[in-house]
């Protein structure tokens, strides 16, 4: 349960972070999250795309169809200026949050 809640809370952060420096398409995002988290975090179509559309609607990311020679066209997402702001503020909050969790955990185990 906690796992799922945490994933939900952190999903936006993860996506924004992954497209911070280069545009990526949905499948790529899925794979990256799975591999970088060593399989702890996984996203399915049913949860990933609604999240992407939500972020797009909030102008935090921007999706664009890109056609490459010999391939079907794909939709790539890149971060907007606003998205970058939110990303940095969320990074900071999470950092504080994690530090807090650590401190709490430390205290309660001592």
């Amino acid at each position: 349960m906690i796992h799922r809640e945490m994933k939900k809370g952190s999903a936006e952060l993860l996506i924004l972070a992954l497209i911070e420096h280069q545009p990526r398409h949905g499948y790529e995002l899925c794979k990256l999250i799975e591999s970088r988290s060593k399989g702890v975090l996984t996203f399915h179509v049913a949860s990933l795309y609604p999240l992407l559309y939500r972020l797009e609607k909030r102008d935090l990311i921007e999706g664009r169809w890109v056609e490459k020679a010999g391939q079907r066209r794909r939709r790539y997402y890149r971060i907007t200026a606003e998205g970058k702001q939110v990303l940095s503020s969320q990074r900071k909050s999470w950092k504080d949050f994690m530090a807090a969790i650590n401190r709490v955990a430390g205290v309660s185990h001592a």
């Binding site: 499948y27 899925c30 399915h44 179509v45 949860s47 609604p50 559309y53 609607k57 939709r75 909050s93």
Partner: protein
């Protein structure tokens, strides 16, 4: 490659998407499933298994629809939980408002308690403000009202705090003043109005005025003109009159041809020269004005009040100095009138007319405004605590918002929006209280509560209410907002769901409770002191028995009743007739009765006790009374005798004095047989009055005045034209008025009986302002006590529920219920004690402002302070006892498991 389109479309179908959008989504998701399928195939999976694996990404049918619905349909941005998202300020304000309203709907109990508390606090505050504004602040209805100055002489060393002026002195002031552009003299007057079609003869109240009178006020008549020089009365009946708007409407139906016509006043024709505009009724709701000649050589009747218009920039203090100097100069030049005049010997008090009119009402109103502000502060502390408690139970929600990027300012703004919305709703509810209260205030008698009829709920009052609401809303919200916007994530995650409070929350709540107790103590002490004053006053020996006494005044018109014999005959036969009315036990006649307007006084000198030069001459109230008067009013005889029928013009001139006068002149011996006389200079033997009796002291103007000295003369010898009939009955006296009027009519059908009232009502009326203040201040103090009790109950309850685990452990380790209960009670009592201590210090300082309203009790009356402190501590104990009992019911096992 399998075909995914069908599967995806089936799942999207319930969303009814726009076709273009749907096909985009289908294309993007198909691409994803293709990639997944290929990946699984590369890993060596069979076609069927790879297809199923890819489709698994879509999960159960409903998941995709559920996740997409908020995005594709009216998606609600997650602003409520996160940052501003680049919204404009008003957008986030609107959002905060909607969010607040939603949260009130889900917590109706919290919202209604807060709105009710705000409503009572702000409503009461607005009510008192509207009274202050109507009575004190709103300018008088004259041009440049601030320039109107009222002034009078003062000789407190002679027991004369206020001395009016004779016409001779007025003329001096009028001619010499440089600081007043105009100055006028006036004196209250009364007349009997008769005439065809006017109904029964009616006594109307008016004023005799110098011709400058209307010019001073700068008010022009609605019809006709005011007086011109030469129209003044010189000895005799007036011939010209100016009528008030209300008399014109009431008696003459607003007839526009009244100007130039004659009306009958006191049986004499008087020509109406003008009608004043509505609202002009100075002095004392006057209904007519007649011009009086200001004789420069008359210094007999010190009975004229003075009012002037100051030149721009001149203050009351300037006028006071100028008039004192003019009086000194004049007194030194007229040693025949002024005894022992010297430079700096005169004292003249001047004050703005508005202050003079409002008089005794100003201080009580200011005190009440202060009191009601304290109640509002206490209410604020309660609501702030409520908001804090609620915010604390939302700390997890707030922590999550912080994590998602909401800045402290957003969180604070949200909390402030909530409390301001509550206070505005409270102000609206409070207006009901205000309107109702203003309606009641307007009903108060204007002669006791000057200008109270002018109290209104006007735009300024409404603006005040809105401003108070905004300020209190911010005040209540700011502390919780600061607290919560600094939300401690660690604490929130650890304890948020339990809704317990952090140390700083608890300190803040405790602080609120201490403040509440301190403020409540101040209010309760104030109310207590006033209540004790009131009890002292109402328990006072009046010197007469007001029960079952009806008084009424009859004035005989002068040439028709031309000699004192005629006057005495009339009153004596009237008294005879009234005595025969069933239920009447005694009937007396007196020139003045206690607690009525006007107080004839004179200097009194005792034989062999003449004051030495420089010593103040004694001033006594002089009353002309019939033999039966003392029995009728109920003033007991202490020594000697009262008047007898034989004390007339042919016999020895005798006097009855009160015990204060007797004690003053003859402290260690009997006053009977001693002689007194009036004035300072005339010593001819015929002027001596021989004291034949001593009666109890009587207070004339008010119950809280210094005891006056009284000297009574026999009506059989000194008849006056205007007298009160004093009727004591065996039962309720109100019903007698009709029978008395019938007896008067039988003697003279043109004479009205006026100023009719029971003495009991007069006594009650003289305490009317005090009673109103007591009732209001008492209710404010009770409200404060209740709020403080609720406040401490809430805080202790909350602290108990936050410490359930601790209590569980204590009890598991062997603590007895008494120990735990004591622990909780100690917390409550400590808070109350801190509040009481601070309150006592503040009250000891603040009650000095009550001094002038107190009677027979010191501002720092330790008995009152002590009782109030005890009451508050007991309240705190009681309010903490309930949570304390709950604490001891904690089952250790359950308490520990709840963690």
């Amino acid at each position: 490659m399998p075909e995914w389109t069908e599967e995806i479309r089936r799942r999207l179908a319930p969303l009814n998407l726009d076709p273009a959008r749907e096909s985009e989504i289908v294309e993007e998701l198909s691409q994803h499933l293709d990639d997944r399928y290929e990946e699984l195939r590369r890993k060596g999976m069979a076609e069927g298994a790879a297809r199923d694996g890819a489709l698994g990404e879509l999960q159960e049918d409903a998941v995709l629809e559920h996740e997409l619905r908020p995005v594709t349909h009216r998606m609600s941005p997650s602003i409520a939980l996160g940052g501003t998202g680049g919204r404009r300020p008003w957008e986030s304000l609107w959002h905060d408002v909607r969010f607040a309203l939603r949260s009130f709907r889900t917590h109706p109990a919290f919202a209604s308690v807060a709105v009710l508390t705000f409503g009572l606090g702000i409503g009461a505050c607005t009510l008192i403000f509207s009274a202050v504004r109507g009575v004190i602040q709103r300018p008088l209805p004259f041009p440049e009202p601030g320039q109107l100055i009222s002034f009078w002489g003062s000789a407190p060393e002679k027991g004369l705090p206020e001395v009016n002026s004779p016409t001779g002195l007025f003329v001096v002031y009028r001619d010499k003043t440089r600081l007043l552009s105009k100055v006028a003299a006036f004196s209250s007057d009364g007349a009997t109005l008769t005439g065809a079609g006017l109904g029964d003869p009616e006594r109307i109240v008016g004023a005799t005025v110098s011709v400058e009178f209307f010019g001073v006020f700068g008010v022009t008549p609605q019809l006709g003109r005011t007086f011109v020089a030469g129209e003044e009365v010189r000895n005799g009946a007036p011939t010209f009159v100016v009528m008030s708007h209300s008399l014109w409407l009431r008696k003459f139906g607003g007839d526009s041809t009244m100007v130039g016509r004659a009306i009958a006043m006191n049986g004499q024709p008087v020509t109406v020269v003008g009608i004043m505009p509505a609202g002009f009724d100075y002095p004392n709701q006057a209904e007519y004005w007649v011009p009086e000649y200001m004789d420069a050589n008359n210094f007999n009747c010190w009975c004229y009040q003075l009012v002037g218009r100051a030149r721009p920039g001149i203050t009351a203090a300037d006028v006071s100095r100028e008039m004192a100097n003019i009086t000194d100069d004049f007194a030194i030049s007229r040693r025949d009138i002024f005894s022992e005049p010297k430079r700096g010997g005169s004292r003249v008090i001047a004050m703005p007319l508005a202050d003079r009119i409002v008089g005794d009402l100003r201080r009580p109103l200011v005190v009440l405004l202060g009191a009601v502000a304290l109640v509002l502060l206490i209410a604020c502390a309660n609501i702030a605590n409520l908001v804090l408690v609620r915010a604390a139970s939302r700390s997890q929600e707030i922590a999550v918002r912080c994590c998602l990027g909401a800045g402290p300012r957003r969180i604070a703004a949200q909390l402030l929006t909530e409390s301001v919305l509550l206070s505005l709703a409270g102000a609206l509810a409070g207006l009901i209280l205000t309107f109702w209260g203003v309606h009641l205030l307007q009903q108060l008698p204007v002669d006791r509560f000057p200008r109270m009829n002018e109290v209104r709920v006007d735009p300024v009052v409404l603006a005040f209410s809105a401003a108070v609401a905004a300020i209190t809303g911010l005040l209540c919200g700011v502390a919780p907002a600061i607290q919560m916007s600094r939300v401690d994530l660690q604490h929130a995650i650890k304890a948020g769901a339990r809704g317990s409070k952090s140390g700083s929350h608890r300190r803040l709540s405790d602080g609120f409770v201490v403040t509440q107790f301190a403020l409540s103590l101040v209010l309760l002490v104030g109310a207590g002191l006033l209540l004790r004053s009131y009890r002292h006053l109402s328990g006072l020996d009046l010197g007469y028995r007001p029960e079952n006494v009806l008084v009424g005044r009859i004035s005989l018109p002068f040439p028709r009743y031309d000699t004192s014999v005629v006057v005495r005959t009339f009153y004596n036969s009237l008294a005879e007739r009234v005595r025969a009315i069933p239920g009447v036990s005694d009937v007396g006649i007196a020139s003045r009765v206690p607690l009525t307007r006007g107080n004839p006084q004179n200097n009194v000198v005792a034989e062999g006790r003449e004051s030495r030069p420089g010593e103040p001459v004694l001033v006594a109230n002089v009353r002309i009374v019939s033999p039966e008067y003392f029995r009728a009013i109920g003033t007991p005889l202490l020594e000697g005798r009262v008047f007898e029928a034989t004390d007339d013009e042919r016999s020895l001139r005798v006097a009855v004095v009160d015990e204060a006068l007797a004690k003053h002149f003859w402290p260690n011996e009997s006053a009977i047989g001693k002689r007194v006389r009036y004035g300072n200079s005339d010593t001819s033997s015929g002027r001596w009055l021989t004291v034949v009796g001593v009666v109890r002291n009587v207070k004339h103007n008010s119950l809280d005045e210094q005891t006056d000295l009284q000297l009574y003369e026999s009506f059989g010898r000194q008849a006056t034209w205007s007298n009160y009939l004093v009727v004591r009955s065996t039962s309720s006296p109100e019903l007698l008025a009709t029978s008395i009027r019938a007896e008067i009519k039988a003697l003279d059908s043109a004479l009205p009986l006026y100023d009719v009232h029971t003495m009991q009502n007069a006594v009650r009326g003289s305490l009317a302002i005090r009673r109103l203040v007591n009732v209001l201040l008492g209710s404010f103090a009770l409200a404060a006590l209740l709020l403080a009790a609720i406040g401490i109950y809430g805080v202790i309850s909350l602290s108990v529920s936050g410490r359930v685990r601790e209590f569980g452990i204590r009890m598991a380790l062997g603590a007895q219920t008494g120990d735990v209960r004591g622990l909780v009670l100690r917390h409550g009592v400590l808070l109350a004690a801190a509040g009481v201590a601070i309150g006592i210090a503040s009250a000891a300082y603040l009650t000095r402002y009550l001094q002038r309203l107190l009677f027979g009790v010191a501002p720092v009356d330790w008995a009152t302070f002590g009782v109030v402190a005890l009451v508050l501590t007991a309240t705190a104990l009681l309010a903490s006892y309930l949570p304390a009992r709950r604490a001891t019911r904690a089952d250790p096992v359950l308490a520990l498991r709840s963690e």
